[in-house]
């Protein structure tokens, strides 16, 4: 019998209307093949991969196109079969903004011949981790942290592996639909991860507003009949899916500030990552595609799509019926932590869990802003238990050590404070800006410390040289003085007279 | 015993030296720019107050009275206060130079603080015995400290708000001190000594 218990909730957080069922009611559309692929070589963590293909080279689906830069960096594979048309700088959405990096452009053909086949899954952990890196598997929760590095728990023992199926952000339903249709693969992937880190159990956490996913995972766990799998239902509250909030809700412990959950014995993995790992073990297929929710009032028929990595967003949206005419903003991610894109000519990367096109009515943020009246609602919903009203005050006064003291680093930018603020102050935007400014201020002060140290060293060097010169000067002066000065002059006069006589 | 507590209570709250009797206003407004400075100033003034009220009592009853030169009271009190201020300044510079730098001119200014001289004179007028005099000095110091610390934290918070141009700085501080003394008006009517 599979153990199933209800977790208590974390501090703070708010209830949001999920508007997920508009996209989660349909099954995953798996037959989407874009006309061209823009596969970026860069990753959010670790060095860029080095392209090993040449222009006009024909490649198969899953073939290695970018080898890892060093021993534990990530490789890049082709998501579809086709022909390489160019290797050039191209814009891609990364870490909350759009920047350009080297990309392999592939013209796809539809014949879909696969290059990878099932590999032998070795026994010892280190080679398994290297294989995971070579398959380019990263976390699909949005942070895209390299999975091998996260599972490599080194000396710290990991008590529990937490499979994060909470998916608390509105509009996003890719994990929910994935769990409904591929529950057994997700759990098998989880079991493989559990062996890697030597955890004693897996906790599959799902919010209680996803009953179908809960049942599917429950039945799958029954079939696998392993006593180690436990299912935890979380009360639906945003941001339950955040790593720290999930751990606090499920285990009651708090991840120390500035450290990773592994330090207190937990590892969180997204269900999508577990699914990718299982496909790699069963079919040898590297991480070349992911489920993306395409939703929002601006899309004709919102749904979840299995998207090859690198396919342009414009083609993905036209596959889902194109835009409605009153679309106002295109957002990558959910409506709380997503960021708006200025164009849809960008590739889908491994961090793209949702493409959200919202229209005027839904998004209209108020333009009127009042001064803060210190009502403290933002502090009561802050999951990191900060005081946003005082952080924004310290930010407007550019008081950096106050920002440090109030714990700006611990802000997870979840956006709850913006929703409840009666003065409509753009809190999350100012915290992001504040983080950038404090980062710049700390680099400046480091530089200043180093400059001060180098200046003092230079002064010491100059004073040493000066001492040498003075000592030399003193010696010269001492042997010149005294009675032999006259004799030296006479010698010089005689020498010059001898020279003149010789001439 | 309750009588001594009542002395401290009435000296600190009911007729607070700064906000009700309006003594010692210049360090109250000058040294309350920052919380650390106010804390240091409060401690320094408390030290001076206790030393001064004790010494002035001793001088009056041991030296001036026997030689019945009572009229020298004022000058000798000022001498004593000046010496104890100098002593506090040396102590402070040794204990924490940073605090000494932050307070700067306001430490020697304690000598001219009318609360300090006030305590000495009030003690001798009300002919209190030694323990009562020291308790009264301690009460005055606590009252001065409370008012100073409250005003310094208030000023730090007002510093963050966008006060209209002409009222920035001393003007808003005086308004805040005014409203604080209205608040302390609530304590009138309490039993006091």
């Amino acid at each position: 019998m599979v153990k199933n218990h209800i977790a208590k909730s974390f501090t703070g957080g708010i209830k949001l209307n999920a508007n997920k069922n508009v996209s989660s009611s349909k099954t995953i559309a798996e037959q989407f093949i874009p006309s061209k692929l823009i596969i970026p070589m860069s990753h959010q963590f670790g060095p860029d991969a080095i392209p090993i293909v040449k222009v006009n080279q024909r490649i198969k689906k899953g073939e290695l196109i970018g080898e890892p830069a060093d021993k534990n960096a990530l490789a890049v594979h082709a998501s579809c079969s086709g022909q390489v048309t160019a290797i050039e700088q191209h814009q891609e959405p990364i870490v909350g903004e759009v920047s350009s990096s080297t990309c392999v452009i592939i013209q796809t053909n539809k014949d879909d011949d696969v290059s990878h086949q099932k590999k032998y899954w070795p026994r010892d952990t280190q080679t398994r981790l290297n294989l995971i890196n070579q398959a380019g598997i990263v976390g699909l929760g949005g942070g895209s942290f390299p999975t091998a590095e996260k599972l490599n728990s080194k000396s710290l023992n990991c008590e529990l592996l937490i499979l994060n199926g909470a998916e608390c952000e509105p509009f996003i339903s890719c994990d929910d639909v994935l769990m409904r249709e591929h529950a057994t693969e997700v759990l098998r992937g989880g079991m493989a991860m559990m062996e890697l880190v030597g955890a004693s159990a897996i906790l599959v956490c799902i919010e209680d507003d996803k009953p179908e996913a809960l049942n599917a995972v429950y039945d799958a766990a029954g079939q696998l009949n392993s006593k180690l799998i436990q299912i935890v239902t979380l009360p639906t509250r945003y941001p339950a899916g955040g790593e720290k909030q999930l751990i606090e809700a499920v285990t009651g412990k708090e991840v120390p500030s500035g450290e990773y959950p592994i330090n207190i014995g937990f590892i969180c993995q997204n269900v999508g990552t577990a699914y990718a790992l299982d496909r790699y073990i069963q079919l040898g297929e590297p991480q070349i595609n992911r489920v993306v929710t395409v939703t929002g009032q601006g899309i004709k028929n919102p749904q979840n799509v299995l998207v090859p990595i690198g396919s342009p967003i414009s083609e993905l949206i036209s596959f889902c019926g194109g835009y409605n005419d009153d679309v106002s903003h295109l957002i990558l991610g959910g409506n709380m932590m997503g960021y708006s894109l200025h164009t849809d000519e960008l590739p889908v990367t491994k961090a793209t869990n949702c493409i959200l096109a919202i229209n005027k009515s839904q998004e209209e943020k108020s333009t009127q802003i009042w001064p803060c009246i210190r009502c403290g609602d933002c502090a009561s919903v802050c999951p990191a238990k900060l005081l946003p009203q005082r952080i924004v005050k310290a930010y407007t006064n550019k008081n950096f050590n106050k920002l440090e003291e109030l714990g700006l680093k611990d802000c997870i930018e979840c956006g709850c404070c913006d929703v409840v603020c009666p003065s409509h102050i753009p809190l999350t935007a100012s915290f992001k800006n504040a983080k950038y400014l404090t980062e710049e201020a700390t680099t400046h002060s480091l530089l200043a410390n180093e400059a001060e140290m180098r200046h003092n060293l230079k002064k010491i060097r100059l004073s040493k040289e000066q001492m040498k010169v003075d000592r030399l000067h003193a010696e010269l002066k001492s042997n010149v003085r005294g009675d032999n000065r006259k004799s030296m002059i006479n010698d010089a006069v005689n020498r010059s007279r001898k020279l003149r006589n010789k001439k | 015993m309750t009588e001594l507590v009542l002395i401290i209570f009435s000296a600190a709250l009911v007729n607070n030296f700064v906000l009700v009797q309006f003594l010692g206003l210049c360090p109250f407004l000058g040294a309350s720019k920052k919380f650390e400075g106010a804390l240091g100033m409060g401690l320094a003034t408390a030290l001076v107050l206790t030393i001064a009220s004790a010494l002035s009592y001793l001088i009056e009853h041991l030296i001036l009275a026997p030689f019945d030169v009572e009229y020298l009271r004022l000058i000798s009190f000022i001498l004593v206060i000046g010496a104890s201020v100098q002593f506090t300044e040396l102590l402070l510079r040794r204990a924490s130079p940073i605090l000494h730098q932050v307070l700067g001119i306001y430490i020697p200014l304690i000598a001219s603080n009318c609360a300090v001289l006030g305590v000495a004179l009030l003690n001798s007028n009300a002919a209190r015995n030694l323990s009562e005099a020291i308790y009264y000095g301690a009460g005055a110091a606590i009252g001065f400290g409370i008012a100073l610390i409250l005003l310094s934290t208030l000023r730090e918070r007002i510093e963050e708000e966008d006060v209209p141009g002409p009222f920035r700085g001393p003007a808003i501080t005086l308004i805040t001190a005014g409203i604080m003394s209205i608040a302390f008006f609530g304590f009138t009517g309490f039993p006091q000594i």
Partner: protein, 344 residues
């Protein structure tokens, strides 16, 4: 296809300042109804005058500070201050009392500190304190409550307006109809010439638990306060800590000597305890920000108000208690910061 860029999160905020202030005003309606029933239309006129003065002074200061005037007035915070002042002054007062009170509250205590959200002291209490200290005579003209069996009746609507504007009485009503001390005042003066509470309570002005008219007004104000709690405009920390500290001290002293000190019930339902706890002390700008700070802040207000009522010189020291705790809020904020997630 090109798009414009905006900042996350893309969610419509659930409330705004005008909505918050409107809810506070709605919550005061039950208390207003009880007030009119027992003390006549005096308070309506005061509210009207105070609101006009508030809007005028707010517009004037916003113009001087070069801020957007329409946004400043429509956010309703000035109206809340005006209504609170009107509630704390006697119903039958000359017209210039609410005007001066509102002017000093809005200009002195709010705009000189930087407008809404910047006032360190509670504007309504600053206005009331200034009035109490500068016009003690007018401020102690409390009219008796409507009570047929006692023969007091309430001035009609027009006669109140005439009194407010010209402070002259229609011929048939006698002078003592409007100069009556509040029950708290009578208790204090009674105890001064040391008669026991039971003797003082013989006077018909005292109802079952509190004072005759006031206890009903307090009960209706509680309904308004619960509405605010239910709507989430205020959180429970301040009202609960104010009322518990008031109850603790009054019960303690009442147990010691019931002839000398009033019962907790009386303290709770008389004077401005309830309206103070739910409407005045919970002004977010001048109160502490963290929950721990709010508990200490409320406890301080309750205990100081009790102390001033029993031993102080003023019959109802709630205004001074709020001002005293307002001046200690920055110190409280400095030391009651909540523990950050993941930090010891």
């Amino acid at each position: 296809m090109q798009f414009t860029i905006t900042k996350a999160p893309y969610v419509k905020p659930i409330t705004s300042i005008p909505i918050v202030m409107r809810h506070v005003l709605y919550a005061l309606i039950p208390a207003l109804a009880a007030y009119i029933w027992f003390f006549g239309f005096g308070i309506c006129i005061n509210i009207l005058i105070a609101c006009i003065a508030a809007v005028v002074s707010e517009a004037f200061m916003l113009y001087l500070r070069k801020q957007p005037i329409t946004q400043g007035i429509t956010d309703g915070s000035a109206l809340v201050t005006a209504v609170l002042i009107a509630f704390s002054i006697p119903p039958l007062v000359p017209w210039w009392i609410p005007v001066i009170g509102t002017f000093s509250a809005i200009i002195l205590a709010k705009h000189l500190y930087g407008g809404i959200g910047a006032n360190v002291f509670n504007p309504a209490m600053v206005g009331y304190a200034i009035l109490l200290l500068s016009f003690p005579v007018e401020m102690t003209h409390w009219a008796p409550p409507l009570a047929e069996e006692l023969g007091y009746e309430v001035l009609g609507f027009w006669s109140t307006i005439i009194y407010a504007l010209s402070s002259s009485l229609p011929i048939d009503t006698n002078i003592d109809a409007i100069t009556q001390a509040t029950p708290l005042d009578m208790i204090k003066s009674g105890i001064k010439n040391n008669s026991t509470i039971t003797e003082i309570r013989m006077d018909p002005l005292f109802g079952k638990l509190g004072s005759f008219g006031w206890e009903w007004i307090s009960i209706y104000t509680i309904f308004g306060g619960l509405y605010l709690l239910y709507k989430g405009i205020i959180n429970w920390h301040i009202p609960v800590s104010v009322l518990t500290s008031m109850m603790i001290f009054s019960a303690l002293f009442y147990a010691i000597d019931s002839d000398q000190y009033l019962s907790p019930g009386f303290h709770l339902l008389s004077g401005s305890t309830i309206i103070g706890a739910f409407f005045i002390a919970t002004d977010p700008t001048s109160a502490a920000t963290s929950n721990k700070g709010r508990l200490i802040y409320g406890f301080g207000i309750g205990s100081l108000a009790y102390a001033i009522r029993t031993w102080g010189g003023f019959p109802d020291g709630f205004a001074f208690a709020v001002l005293l705790m307002n001046s200690s809020v920055p110190l409280l904020d400095r030391y009651t910061r909540p523990r950050i997630y993941g930090k010891s």
